[in-house]
């Protein structure tokens, strides 16, 4: 009897999904996608997550969690599951699920929608949930330590190296998105720059004026943000101030590198903490507002279900649907980075084991829902506008007439007038070749928000609000990520030089910070100065690394299931791990060895170095120096892909060995921490 409501829900989901999948020719409403996703997620949560909880993990409500047996009122606190859900969701939600689906829209709305729904149910949410479970049974330890415990010290070190490299790429690609969004945009630049003095003021306020009053100071900060957006328009229009806030991408790149280096050694209360308050609350607020906006507006999708780019050759990113779509969407469907969060603070706060499905599986479903909304945003825009915004300058030529001609030639008719009108509406000089996903999403959010509140005249305000919201939490991630990367690096170097772990002398910290900023700064500069646009090159490398980390987490989960003698259920993690391995290894190998210069780094390097030898300059490079840079960048990216492949394949070997040994053992061999023993310590 109790299943009837769920069966009805499943039927609604199936109906909506078939509308989404089989409508051709006439535009469908965005709500079909939203309903399909929501009902699939609810049914998956009710049946699959509970199946995993009851049969695969055998969660035990009577078994004390670390928050209970280690309770200290600080790090280990038994927390209400709804409160903890909010905490965990805020920690995993970031720019990834917003940007990936926007880029994936190049193939139409259908492939992205299907992969987000299927991917999260079968892979992404399973990964988060399993890692949370594994960490929760082991004192809330971190991913690196968990791999070391279950697969040995060598595997643990390899995982740490992989995680550090992934961190570097993530920081570079996030910073690149900010650069692309703020370049030549004095209004956006002013609002984002204004957050620095604003955060400093908030820091001083919470330190000395009214210590610890976060609610108050956040409200003050919010007022400051709105004022910054409102006055940004006048600043941008002013003949004196406007040019002062107008930067080229290369200038912005250096500003960001300098900012990252300084911000990550300042005391945390001064800049990082207060800006994190703003970015966290703004993020949650904007996501909620976007959901409400889409429901009220119920916009039709203008992008076709499938475009001709499913076979490859798209302007936004290169490569065919398999494997590159799965690499591009990344965080919205599966994100390896969540394994670091699910083995961070959350497992130390869980009050009861039976809360884990809601937090581990549920919060990831919510994240996938954010990805669905981003996909809706990108596909309600006119496809001509979408491609004009997201194709690199090498294709659009940079001005409205050439861009309209180029995009119309792709089969998406658009007039130069529409491109200019859109730029005027959102208060920017141009919208052409504003790659990176953030500006596209901001135009869509402006469209949706202005429809609900304020009318067309408010589009410029909402556009800059959306840019600010994305830039703010990306900058927080850059700052916090640099700090986290610094500690990872100190740990890694400490393996060889133990004195490097010291936290008492400032030198190792400063050296590690400089190395960390230098590493992501290098890739950022490479992306910014890349004549091909950067996003085109860096995003796939980011996607591959992120999905590989997910594969590593799922392999750990598989090893643990074997060690628990639950190999009968190992398919729960083996299936997604295998799929991710197939996708990432194929993508990595194609990026390395594909003979198509648009896809393979080495083929591209060969093509350009041959031209250099002939003394010839190939478009989009404009000089010999640019030609050499392209060749160098290609080789660095190829080496990076090679290292990622080595890391993931060596971890696969460790996993298979661990699983075989555990299978042969006559009793469970998992290293769970027993609450009674841990508490006695």
């Amino acid at each position: 009897m109790k299943h009837i409501a769920w069966i009805v829900l499943a039927l609604i989901g199936a109906l909506s999904l078939s509308v989404v999948a089989f409508s051709r020719g006439e535009p469908i409403n965005a709500l079909w996608i939203v309903i399909a996703a929501a009902s699939c997620f609810l049914v998956a949560y009710r049946y699959y997550a509970l199946f995993i909880a009851r049969h695969v993990m055998r969660l035990d409500p009577a078994r004390p969690t670390p928050a209970v047996y280690r309770a200290d009122g600080l790090d280990y606190v038994a927390t209400d599951r709804r409160v903890l859900f909010g905490h965990h969701f805020a920690a995993i939600a970031g720019a990834g699920p917003l940007v990936g689906p926007v880029l994936a829209a190049q193939m139409g709305y259908l492939p992205g929608t299907l992969w987000i729904i299927v991917g999260v149910v079968v892979a992404g949410a399973v990964q988060d949930f399993m890692v949370l479970f594994i960490s929760m049974r082991r004192d809330g330890r971190s991913l690196g330590e968990l791999v070391r415990m279950e697969m040995g010290p060598v595997a643990g070190t390899i995982a740490l190296i992989g995680a550090f490299m992934i961190m570097v790429i993530i920081l570079a690609v996030l910073a690149l998105i900010v650069v692309r969004a703020l370049a030549e945009s004095p209004w956006g630049m002013f609002t984002v720059a204004a957050t620095v003095p604003l955060a400093l003021f908030m820091g001083v306020y919470t330190r000395w004026i009214r210590p610890g009053r976060i609610g108050e100071v956040s409200l003050l900060g919010l007022v400051g943000l709105v004022l910054a957006i409102v006055y940004g328009q006048a600043v941008a229009a002013s003949p004196f101030w406007g040019p002062l806030f107008t930067f080229t991408p290369v200038q912005l790149c250096w500003i960001l590198i300098g900012y990252g280096a300084v911000a990550s050694v300042l005391p945390v209360w001064l800049l990082l903490a207060p800006r994190d308050y703003l970015s966290t609350f703004l993020k949650i607020g904007a996501i909620a507002a976007l959901a409400i906006g889409i429901l009220i507006m119920a916009p039709p999708l203008k992008m076709p279900a499938l475009t001709q780019f499913v076979d490859g050759g798209g302007p936004v990113w290169s490569g065919a649907l398999f494997p590159f779509l799965f690499i591009t969407i990344a965080c919205g469907a599966v994100s390896g980075f969540h394994a670091l969060i699910a083995s961070g603070t959350t497992p130390k706060l869980i009050a009861s084991e039976t809360d884990a499905p809601m937090i581990g599986y549920g919060a990831m479903l919510m994240e996938a829902f954010v990805a669905i909304m981003a996909l809706v945003g990108a596909t309600i825009l006119d496809p001509g506008l979408y491609f004009a915004m997201n194709s690199p300058t090498a294709i659009t030529g940079g001005d409205p007439v050439s861009a309209a001609a180029a995009v119309t030639a792709m089969g998406f008719p658009v007039s130069p007038g529409l491109l200019m009108q859109t730029a005027r509406d959102v208060g920017e000089h141009t919208v052409i070749s504003r790659t990176g996903g953030a500006p596209t999403l901001a135009v869509a959010m402006a469209e949706i928000f202005a429809h609900v509140l304020g009318g067309p005249g408010w589009k410029a305000f909402w556009y800059h609000f959306a840019i600010l919201f994305e830039a703010l939490f990306i900058l927080t991630a850059v700052d916090a990520g640099t700090r986290a990367g610094r500690f990872m690096l100190q740990d890694l170097i400490g393996l060889a030089v133990p004195s490097f772990r010291s936290t008492t002398s400032p030198m190792p910290g400063l050296v590690a910070t400089a190395l960390c900023v230098g590493a992501w700064g290098f890739f950022l500069y490479q992306g910014v100065s890349d004549p091909l646009g950067g996003v085109n090159t860096l995003w796939p490398v980011f996607g591959i690394s992120n999905q590989m980390l997910a594969a590593m987490a799922l392999m750990l989960a598989t090893a643990v299931l074997f060690r628990m003698k639950r190999s009968r259920f190992a398919w729960v993690t083996v299936v997604p791990a295998a799929w991710l391995l197939v996708c990432t290894v194929t993508a990595g190998a194609l990026k390395l060895f594909s003979p198509d210069p648009a896809v393979g780094f080495l083929a591209h390097a060969a093509k350009f170095s041959a031209a250099v030898a002939r003394g010839e300059v190939l478009a989009p490079a404009k000089s010999m120096a640019e030609m050499q840079r392209i060749v160098f960048n290609d080789r660095v990216d190829a080496a990076l892909c090679g290292v990622f492949l080595l890391v993931v394949l060596s971890l696969l070997v460790f996993t298979v060995r661990t699983c075989l040994a555990a299978y042969r053992a006559d009793r469970p061999t998992a290293h769970e921490v027993r609450p009674d023993l841990a508490a006695a310590q």
Binding site: L272, S335, F337, I341, T476, A477
Partner: protein, 61 residues
């Protein structure tokens, strides 16, 4: 209504790494009655440092 507001407030605070001060006081009273608990402001600073200063700085992409 009041309970809902309190829970929303607690959620918002935990999102930025500030666990419940009341729960901390309760824990200290129950398990360490001999030690003086941190004041609200000391507690705030301690948690701020724990979230951002040390290794807890993980944020997602």
């Amino acid at each position: 209504m009041k309970a809902l507001w309190a829970r929303l407030r607690e959620t918002a605070l935990l999102m930025i790494g500030q666990p419940s001060y009341a729960a901390y006081l309760a824990h200290m009273a129950a398990h360490h009655p001999d030690r003086a608990p941190m004041t609200r402001i000391e507690f705030f600073r301690d948690r701020e440092q724990a979230r951002y200063g040390a290794k807890g700085g993980g944020r997602c992409c």
